[in-house]
């Protein structure tokens, strides 16, 4: 059961992610990315991270990606044009990527042999209560600092995007 869930959503995630990269139109990419995020949320649930799964959907899919879609619509961004300016990217891109993926896969497989297995309900520490408790005790300082970060981001975004007053 867990395996089926994993396989289904992992496949969805990978296919959607490939779609993000190969689609020529940004809005298709955005919709595919939402798909990736949604399937990742399900995988988070599988790993016992129910709060993070909800946050993933609310914050990422529900807020961040809406912003993306919004901007795409606002700018009426069309399909991208081919402008082969980067010699380096076309030359080194594919080998570097292949090497990166191969190395990541190789070391993952070597460091994490098939010993540990994930099953639904194997970790019950990811409830909203547990996360909230850790957030407001051990990690209070970083949490408060993020509020400052967000404040700065708000101010920055407003300053950047406002109409010129002059």
């Amino acid at each position: 059961m867990d395996l089926i869930v994993f396989l289904v959503f992992a496949v969805i995630a990978v296919v959607a992610a490939i779609n993000v990269v190969v689609q020529r139109h940004p809005i298709s990419s955005a919709v595919s990315l939402i798909g990736v995020m949604g399937s990742l949320a399900v995988l988070y649930l599988l790993l016992g991270a129910e709060f993070i799964a909800a946050a993933q959907v609310i914050v990422y899919a529900g807020a961040v990606m809406v912003l993306f879609v919004f901007v795409i619509m606002l700018l009426n961004a069309g399909t991208e044009t081919r402008t082969g300016r980067s010699f380096i990217a076309s030359l080194l891109g594919v080998p570097v990527l292949a090497a990166l993926l191969a190395m990541l896969a190789y070391f993952t497989a070597r460091i994490y042999p098939r010993g540990t297995e994930v099953r639904f309900g194997g970790f019950r520490g990811g409830t909203a209560e547990a996360v909230g408790r850790a957030l407001f005790t051990t990690y209070l300082l970083p949490f408060e600092i993020t509020s400052i970060l967000i404040l700065i981001a708000i101010v920055g975004a407003i300053v950047l995007a406002r109409k010129e007053l002059e």
């Binding site: 709060f51 899919a61 807020a63 809406v66 619509m73 409830t127």
Partner: protein, 391 residues
């Protein structure tokens, strides 16, 4: 394990069927109520008092030509209504309608599934609902649709904040994210409801206002402002795809009404304990309604209504009798109270649609960001403080 799946499947079918019927008839109710507010009869031709009107509408929509305009982004154009209705229906799945019941030896909850984070789930799903509208507006390749879609998504994002904050306040009072436990904490008397017990009047009002905006209802139905945007994001949609958006809107209405009931009005809990006779309220109501029906049906001046009023009077009397049967009481009483409360809020939705004019767009945004959001924030702060001090 197997029985769990079976029961779940049964529940899904029951809930889905009931929901579809309710959706259809909610529209009938709306037309009727608005008609009466405007002193006219409303649908009256199809069936007695227009009771078969929803069926006729459905048949019309299904049989209508499913037109896909040229120059649209096909994939997204087709996906958008599907996304909208899916997200709308998905949130129903975690809403509990009543307590645990015994069905032939199996105990089960009157709820499709219970999540520890039920409230968060609903928030998450409703935040995904934006895409249906935004993508519909964009993919239509029509400027009215695009503007409607943009307006709608901006409006939904804006009002999601006060909505979430208004939801958080009663959650603080009840100290849980599970919708079922939420109801349990409000058991007993009327004044145990979060609305009264936790002094959540401000939250309740904010929640209702934000809910109106979230569901794009009057007075916040800017995306569909006919005189500016034709029909907003679904200008280019017809047939079942149009019906999907329509159903999604009503499903969202039902969802937020259920949420209001669960969060503020005690869910399926009766206003006072059964020991003091709350169990006889539905009996009395149904019996009274039945008697009135029979009275009017037998009235010589209303011969046309004799065919419908007499049977319906009898059905209502029967319903009153069913509420007296102890076996069914345990299941039906909570359901009755839940539906009554939800229905009251749905009536409020319709009532306001028939009463209030539409906002201007800049007013709408200013109201959200400059008034509603700070008030909701302050309300949450005060609630948190009170809870922290008194617990």
């Amino acid at each position: 394990m197997d029985s769990f799946i079976v029961i779940s499947l049964i529940k899904i079918f029951v809930v889905f069927g009931a929901l579809m019927t309710i959706l259809a008839y909610l529209q009938w109710v709306e037309r009727k109520v608005i008609a009466h507010i405007q002193v006219r009869p409303g649908p009256y031709r199809v069936g007695p008092h227009g009771l078969l009107q929803p069926l006729a509408d459905v048949i019309k929509l299904i049989t209508k030509e499913d037109l896909v305009p040229p120059y649209v982004n096909k994939v997204l154009y087709l996906a958008a209504p599907f996304l909208a209705i899916t997200m709308a229906l998905l949130s129903i799945s975690v809403i509990p309608f009543g307590p645990a019941i015994q069905v032939g030896g199996y105990q089960t909850w009157m709820q499709l599934t219970d999540l520890n984070i039920g409230v968060l789930f609903i928030l998450a799903v409703s935040s995904m609902g934006v895409y249906g509208i935004a993508l519909a507006g964009w993919s239509s390749n029509n400027k009215y649709a695009l503007l409607g879609g943009l307006r709608s998504s901006a409006q939904m994002i804006s009002y999601e904040l006060p909505l979430s904050l208004a939801i958080a306040a009663p959650l603080l009072v009840s100290n849980t994210l599970s919708l079922r436990k939420l109801v349990d904490t409000q058991d007993g008397w009327l004044w145990n409801w979060n609305l009264f017990h936790g002094w959540q009047y401000v939250s309740f009002i904010i929640f209702l206002i934000a809910a109106f905006a979230e569901t794009n209802r009057v007075p916040f139905d800017l995306p569909e402002a006919e005189n500016e945007l034709v029909a907003g994001f679904h200008t280019e949609y017809s047939s079942m795809k149009f019906a999907s958006f329509f159903m999604a809107e009503y499903a969202n209405m039902i969802t937020v009404s259920c949420m209001a009931t669960l969060l503020f009005l005690g869910g399926w809990v009766a206003p006072w304990p059964a020991a003091y006779g709350s169990g006889y309220v539905p009996v009395a109501i149904f019996a009274a309604a039945g008697v009135i029906m029979l009275f009017h049906g037998l009235h010589p001046a209303r011969r046309r209504d004799r065919l419908t009023f007499l049977p319906f009077g009898l059905i209502l009397l029967l319903a009153a009798a069913v509420f007296l049967v102890p076996l069914t009481q345990s299941a039906l009483l909570p359901l009755f109270w839940f539906c009554a409360k939800t229905g009251a809020i749905l009536f409020l939705f319709i009532w306001i649609r028939g009463t209030l004019p539409r906002f201007r767009y800049d007013q709408l945004m200013q109201f959200a960001w400059k008034f509603l959001f700070p008030v909701a924030m302050l309300n949450l702060l005060v609630t948190g403080l009170v809870v922290a001090v008194f617990s």
